[in-house]
Symmetry: C2
Subunit: 297 residues, 2 copies
């Protein structure tokens, strides 16, 4: 049995660029906390940076919780804990909106959840959450990628109707490997070459090898749209479309960078079987609990 | 026979910070092209950035020569050619002031050579020259180091009386892994832990493992002095003291960064036997031709 795939990738030897088939913004200014200008910016660039979205006190609590989780997982063999390539240092902890009441509440914060529902035009659930720890001195790069490409191929997310939040727990400055995005890249689907090996996620979360856009395609998109790295104090957020190309350089400075990553998916875009034809990834990476989130007031 | 070592490093298990025993600037404004303010800036920070020091036409010629040398060395097994770790891509070509008439003339440009003689207060020779190619997409980091620490331990450079020029052949921007320096770090000698393996240079030019400052020391110096990454169009230069801590992050952007690196040493600071007690490194890395350069007009 074959099914139609609106966004084929990793199905042949050739990389190509397809046109996005889905809207970027589903709601309007009257539907939630974001203004008309903010929604237009998101629609045009594929992301929206909001400085100091959370205040110092909120960030202190989130940072303490992130530290607690890192330390409590240091000796932990749990699948939720991803380590740096070639080291025992913790790179990411997944599914924190399940394991931590504080991050569970964060995902339900009206300002955040409201913005996600406004952009996606429906109730939403958390597809993935994690804390990324990017240590100083030896922090590794995250190479360019579209999250949607992976979520579609490996998780069975059918359409582009998800939005990510990157929340800085520490200052992002020009030197410490901040998130970089390619404005406008969300309007193109960069289908990647190659096929996906079985259980690819066990390695890809440490270092990506498949689902990687071709250099010539990246160069074309970056030449057209440029590259923007939103900077800011702790508590700043970047809302970005699931298909916006992003990445970050390594970090040799003494200043670590740490962020919380939350992905909201529309309940009308619930996961199906992976388009790779392989087994789905585990629930801590790609949730299959599609119950809509309710606001935490 | 033991000899006195003014700057011991890699001689025990412990890292420590010593005070610099040498002047930073030897000449004055009347001795050359740099102004009093420029000399003071160099003395205080350990470096001086000068935008668009070479014009577009000069840079076109230098860039063409750098490309020619990279391509002519692609199949080359010469020791002067250093490749990226885990790849055949050319990372550096050494001793270009010997192998290329164009780079030989660059080293004798009155503006550059005059500034070096002014800072060092004597005739000078070229201790080392190279072109660094930092490719886009997969450009690797250069970790923090003091050049002098290596030149002292591995090459036998007795005192801190050398100055480096980094000349950008391509634009340096915030995203493509520009040179970062720690202002004020040149006044401290960061003695490193460990001993040097034999023929260390065969690996260290690809990825540094010894002569690496401790994280706590780097953090202290960066907290005090900050980190500065001079940016600018092609043709911009940074003059920096041999003992200023510097490094650069990796580069995942499509924009390569390429620079010429020229080191002038005072003829009164000619190399001796390496302070490690080991064999000296080859002449293409550490020249032992101490004949002073004459201006090329």
């Amino acid at each position: 049995m074959t099914r139609a795939d609106p966004y084929p990738s990793r199905v042949s030897g050739a990389a190509e660029v397809l046109v996005r088939k889905d809207p970027v913004v589903h709601g309007s200014a009257s539907d939630g906390p974001l203004s008309g200008i903010e929604l237009e910016t998101f629609e045009r660039n594929g992301f929206l940076a909001l400085d100091a979205f959370f205040d110092a006190q909120e960030i202190r609590a989130l940072r303490a919780e992130a530290e607690r989780m890192r330390e409590s997982t240091l000796e932990d063999e749990a699948a939720e804990v991803i380590r740096e390539p070639g080291s025992a240092a913790v790179r990411s902890v997944f599914a924190v909106h399940r394991s931590s009441p504080i991050f569970a509440a964060l995902a339900r914060t009206p300002r955040l959840l409201g913005a996600a529902m406004q952009i996606l035009g429906s109730p939403v659930y958390v597809h993935q959450s994690r804390i990324n720890y990017k240590p100083g001195f030896r922090g590794r790069e995250f190479y360019w990628h579209s999250d949607f490409e992976t979520w579609h191929v490996e998780d069975g997310m059918p359409r582009m109707r998800a939005v990510s939040v990157s929340l800085s727990l520490l200052e992002s400055n020009v030197h410490n490997g901040p998130l970089m995005l390619i404005p406008g890249s969300h309007r193109h689907y960069v289908a990647c070459a190659g096929t996906t090996p079985e259980r690819h996620y066990e390695r890809s979360l440490r270092q990506q090898e498949y689902g990687v856009p071709e250099p010539a395609i990246l160069e074309g998109l970056a030449r057209r749209g440029g590259i923007i790295a939103p900077l800011g104090p702790p508590g700043s957020i970047v809302l970005f479309d699931c298909n916006t190309l992003h990445g970050s350089n390594g970090n040799i400075t003494p200043w670590p960078r740490s962020n919380v990553f939350l992905v909201y998916n529309s309940v009308e875009n619930a996961l199906e079987a992976p388009f790779s034809g392989q087994e789905p990834r585990p629930a801590h990476i790609a949730s299959r609990d599609f119950a809509p989130l309710t606001l935490c007031r």
